[in-house]
């Protein structure tokens, strides 16, 4: 019987560990990378002491310590799998205290593990929350062992010590402990009702009593460290978006385009990274229309009251790559402010880079010092210090060379400043031209095109050729002048075919979609401009 039970335990453990690790490692790694990027774990006394400002200091400190290991491929899945196995084992021990027979305890034990796994799949659920549960179960097991059934005084003293202590180290985990105590009391042969009332009152009062210390609103005092945004879903679409985000952050542009081709997502954030990859690989003017384009919302992510913390986090990437370091710094700082703990390793790295490129070494030094206090970002700091020492900062060529004042959402002003500072900034030029194209603003497109692109006989990219033809047709420019733009013959032929089909089919999109669905002409005629904020 014992052998059978042991075998069953091993099988259950394997049934938890193998799918959990496999799923997280192969299908969900980018969520875990981002979780690591959203914390900054420093090995300093001040940082340690900062955890005491809120409940659940031990759960959160331990959770954040282990979240650092999500930095490595396989690190996140390993940590989470081990954590869930610990939780599972504690669940079995707890169920046994409830007089659940051994085999049934093994069978029922995943009931706690599965929702915890699902919650950990969400970006807003911290590993510390799971640690809070682990601490609660551990405290309950200690309580159940120490508490002799008939000594009322000893029970009360134990609860009086354990409940505040548990709230201090595990926050809302104390309510799970309370639930276990209630069940434990009820399954006793002679349950004593006072054994229920006392811990219940204590657990409900302790968070309120702690309010002057923690300065949290009542709701948060009872939930902490759990977030109100906790979900029980696995978001595989968002995982795809995050894969494009992380690969962009690491500068793997070709891979981002591979992902974009593979996923074909109709999502503004996915388009944002796709467009960035197109611009960094010089393919933007040829392949822009190969992907879903929600007007200009796939070029710049808005930072406004309606934005989510995630889009704010991503919004600095485009400014950084184009060279507008002040806007990148603004966005990165906002990303930091709205990250869950107000500190993020990814954004500290980014801020250090921005200040290095701007030549503001004192500000960069602050962030590099922080990176040096981490376990795994030290190397990044060394690389950047070497960069400062050698003065090899190629990105500096693209930064604005003169001053101008603009509002935070004036992307056109930003791109114009970049171009006037460095006319060779092709990425900024492509962004400006494509911005006007996606807004269907052909006159502005032509104005920028005529100003910045010389007619030197070099190849005109497909999308630009198509837009120029629209302009020339609208202005009834003679054929001689059309030739001066150097538009490739195949585009001219396509244009004639498109025009003919368009007219023959009374401006219906259906017959044009197959051949011209990825042309700018098709976008110009059929894309419906929707204001996402109002829709």
């Amino acid at each position: 019987m014992r052998q059978w039970k042991n075998g069953m335990q091993w099988i259950t453990a394997a049934l938890i560990a193998v799918p959990c690790f496999t799923f997280l490692h192969f299908l969900y790694p980018y969520h875990l990378y981002l979780k690591e990027q959203l914390i900054l774990f420093l090995a300093t006394p001040d940082y340690f002491l900062s955890y005491f400002g809120k409940p659940a200091w031990l759960a959160l400190y331990a959770g954040d310590f282990f979240t650092q290991f999500f930095y490595f491929r396989g690190g996140g899945p390993t940590v989470i799998t081990i954590t869930l196995l610990v939780l599972w084992w504690l669940s079995i021990q707890t169920l046994k205290q409830f007089r659940v027979a051994g085999r049934w305890a093994v069978v029922a034990s995943p009931v706690l593990v599965i929702p915890e796994f699902l919650m950990l799949c969400g970006l807003h659920y911290k590993l510390g929350s799971t640690f809070s549960l682990i601490l609660a179960l551990t405290a309950f097991l200690i309580y159940s062992r120490l508490r002799p059934g008939d000594s009322r005084l000893r029970t009360f003293v134990l609860l009086l010590l354990l409940i505040p202590f548990l709230y201090w180290i595990a926050g809302s985990g104390v309510f799970f402990f309370l639930l276990c105590v209630i069940i434990f009391t009820l399954v006793q042969k002679k349950p004593r009702i006072q054994h229920l009332i006392f811990p219940l009152c204590l657990a409900l009062l302790i968070p309120l009593a702690a309010k002057p210390v923690y300065l949290l609103p009542a709701g948060k005092l009872y939930l902490y460290p759990r977030s109100q945004h906790t979900t029980l879903t696995i978001d595989l679409v968002w995982e795809k978006v995050l894969s494009m985000d992380s690969e962009s952050f690491w500068g793997h542009w070709d891979y981002v385009l591979d992902l974009a081709d593979k996923y074909q997502l109709k999502n503004p954030v996915a388009t944002y990274f796709t467009n960035l990859a197109l611009s960094q690989t010089g393919m933007m003017p040829d392949r822009l229309m190969d992907y879903y384009q929600p007007a200009t919302k796939g070029l710049f992510l808005p930072v406004s009251a309606e934005s989510t913390p995630m889009t704010i986090l991503f919004s600095n990437e485009v400014f950084f790559r184009l060279g507008d370091m002040n806007m990148a710094q603004h966005s990165a700082m906002l990303g930091m402010i709205f990250s869950p703990d107000g500190r993020s390793s990814r954004l500290v790295r980014r801020l250090a880079d921005i200040h290095i490129i701007n030549g503001e070494y004192e500000a960069a030094d602050k962030y590099l010092r922080m990176l040096e206090q981490t376990l795994f970002h030290k190397r990044q700091s060394s690389i950047r210090r070497e960069q400062i020492r050698t003065g090899s900062i190629p990105e500096r060529v693209n930064i604005p060379a003169f001053d101008s004042i603009r509002s935070g959402d004036d992307c056109i002003a930003s791109l114009n400043i970049l171009l006037e500072s460095n006319p060779g900034n092709k990425a900024a030029l492509d962004y400006l031209l494509c911005y006007h194209l996606l807004n269907k603003d052909i006159p502005s497109f032509m104005e920028v095109y005529e100003r910045w692109i010389p007619k030197d006989g070099s190849r005109v990219p497909d999308i630009y050729s198509q837009a120029i033809l629209i302009y020339l047709t609208q202005h009834k420019v003679p054929a001689q002048a059309v030739r001066s733009y150097g538009i490739p013959d195949n585009i001219l032929v396509d244009f004639m075919d498109y025009t003919r089909l368009f007219q023959e089919n009374n401006a219906q999109s259906g017959p044009l979609r197959e051949r011209f669905g990825k042309s700018y002409w098709f976008y110009y005629h059929f894309a419906v401009m929707v204001n996402h904020e109002n829709s």
Binding site: Y47, P212, L216, Q329, H330, A363, S404
Partner: protein
């Protein structure tokens, strides 16, 4: 057992050797590389221990502090931290402009170096023992987590006066005292339950300072010495962004004016009408309460294009504290014509003894904290001379200042370390108006400034502890009705 004893004895001997006197010391004629820079400074006798750290990763540090017949030795790995008792004894023995000499021995790569000693001059001029400030990320006009804090300057104790986690994440502006009196203060709390929170001897009120016809609710403000009146600016504030590196945010007013609020009668008195439309902001009362100083610029319609030409002068107008009325416009006077020097004045603050006016000067505009060139200037109101305070200012922004009640100290926010994060610096001014090198607010862990993401915004000194806390503010935000003001025509 013998082996164990042997190891223990060896270990103890090792520790004793490690803690022994530095040997084979190399002399270095320069000042030691310490953070914060506490070299050659004047300190008040009631300041918390000036803990500091030695930079460049030393193995061991020994500080030998010599005061009036007293020597204190402190050891550390990298940090020098004083116990409260040792610190008090040392400082108390040197009160009265006596010096504490700090000799630093630093061991690095196995070699001890002895640096040139530096001095701390202990003045008997006490600094007001409390400092309030707002903690905010330098994220320009956007916030998420905000706190108003009160630090006890004689220790490291910090108290939270208001926390926006308890007030639906609404914005809160900085805390302003009247005469550095903790019983007279206000701050603006925004959001649906917000208003100007007025504290008069612990009785808290919530006031809506926006009245019909005023440009906005009160923004920058100051108390009359009697505590009965407050003078406020009302502004339409526009934040925009610079493109060039080093420059960040430009905040300017498209409209601004002044009001005097009578807190006893709940009235609001607008600035007397003038011929030309002007921008007026940063008002403060004089120490005797008979004058209001403020900053004035000609109205500009072409903003932000012409923002570099937007320059404010320091002005004054009389005020009658008996009637609560502004003086006639004929009493308007130019105190410092900054625009003539192609400069712009912000944040004038009168010293409580009425001798000085401390203000900020930038090349243009009205938001000096993000102007790197921003400096503090001191106007002697008795002689009319202006001191550019070269030994106080840094190459980066120095602004947002406040006086101690004895007029012998002022605190200001400086970004001199990194250009991004403001920290409170204290500066002594002697009876002849001579200022000393400023020093940063000491922290228990001297590396704390390296790891914080917060700026210390608008530091203000006060004589005592403010009689409210964050929970009082939450209660006011959620349940107190707002008082309104009657505009006086």
């Amino acid at each position: 057992m013998r082996i164990v004893k042997f190891h223990i004895i060896t270990l103890l001997l090792g520790i004793l050797y490690a803690c022994g006197e530095p040997r084979d010391v190399t002399a270095n004629d320069s000042l030691p590389p310490i953070y914060p820079d506490y070299t050659q400074i004047t300190i008040p006798c009631n300041i918390a221990p000036l803990n500091f750290m030695v930079l460049h990763n030393p193995q061991q540090v020994l500080a030998v502090l010599t005061g009036e017949g007293k020597t204190v030795r402190i050891r550390g790995g990298q940090n020098i931290r004083f116990s409260g008792k040792k610190w008090d004894q040392l400082v108390n023995s040197c009160i009265g402009n006596e010096h504490i000499s700090v000799q630093l021995y630093v061991k690095k790569d196995g070699v001890w170096t002895c640096y040139k000693p530096f001095l701390w001059t202990v003045t008997e001029d006490r600094i007001d023992p409390y400092l309030s400030y707002r903690l905010i990320e330098p994220g320009y006009e956007v916030w998420n987590k905000l706190q108003l804090c009160e630090r006890h300057l004689e220790s490291f104790k910090v108290r939270i006066l208001a926390d926006n986690a308890l007030t639906e994440n609404s914005c809160m502006n900085c805390h302003t005292y009247g005469n550095q009196d903790p019983g007279t203060s206000f701050f603006h709390l925004r959001g649906p339950g917000g208003g100007t929170i007025l504290n008069r001897n612990g009785k808290l009120r919530k006031i809506e300072t926006k009245t019909e016809g005023s440009i906005s609710a009160g923004v920058y403000g100051n108390f009359h010495p009697s505590g009965r009146y407050g003078v406020f600016s009302t502004n339409i504030i526009i934040p925009e962004f610079h493109a060039f590196r080093g420059e960040r945010l430009e905040v300017y007013d498209t409209e601004s004016d002044l009001i005097v609020v009578d807190f006893d009668h709940n009235t609001s008195m607008p600035f007397p009408p003038t011929e030309k439309k002007e921008l007026r902001t940063f008002p403060v009362f004089s120490a005797d309460g008979n004058t209001v100083y403020y900053c004035r610029a000609p109205y500009m319609s072409a903003l932000p294009d012409s923002v570099r030409y937007l320059r404010y002068d320091l002005m004054s107008i009389s005020f009658n504290p008996h009637t609560g009325m502004w003086g006639d416009t004929s009493t308007i006077d130019t105190v410092f014509s900054a625009s003539r020097h192609k400069l712009s004045v912000c944040h004038p603050k009168t010293s409580p003894d009425g001798r000085y006016l401390l203000f900020t000067v930038a090349e243009y505009g009205t938001f000096p904290i993000w102007h790197r060139e921003t400096d503090l200037y001191l106007l002697n109101l008795e002689t009319g001379s202006v001191d550019a305070l070269n030994n106080v200012n840094s190459a980066l922004s120095d602004t947002y200042h406040s006086w101690s009640s004895n007029s012998r100290w002022f605190v200001f926010a400086s970004k001199r370390d990194d250009g991004m994060y403001g920290k409170p610096y204290f500066c002594h001014i002697d009876e002849n108006g001579l200022t000393s090198k400023p020093f940063v607010l000491p922290q228990k862990d001297p590396s704390a400034y390296f790891t914080t993401f917060k700026s210390f915004n608008i530091p203000e000194l006060s004589k005592g502890e403010v009689p409210f806390n964050a929970l009082d503010i939450e209660k006011i935000y959620r349940s107190m009705d707002k008082e309104t003001l009657d505009p006086v025509k």
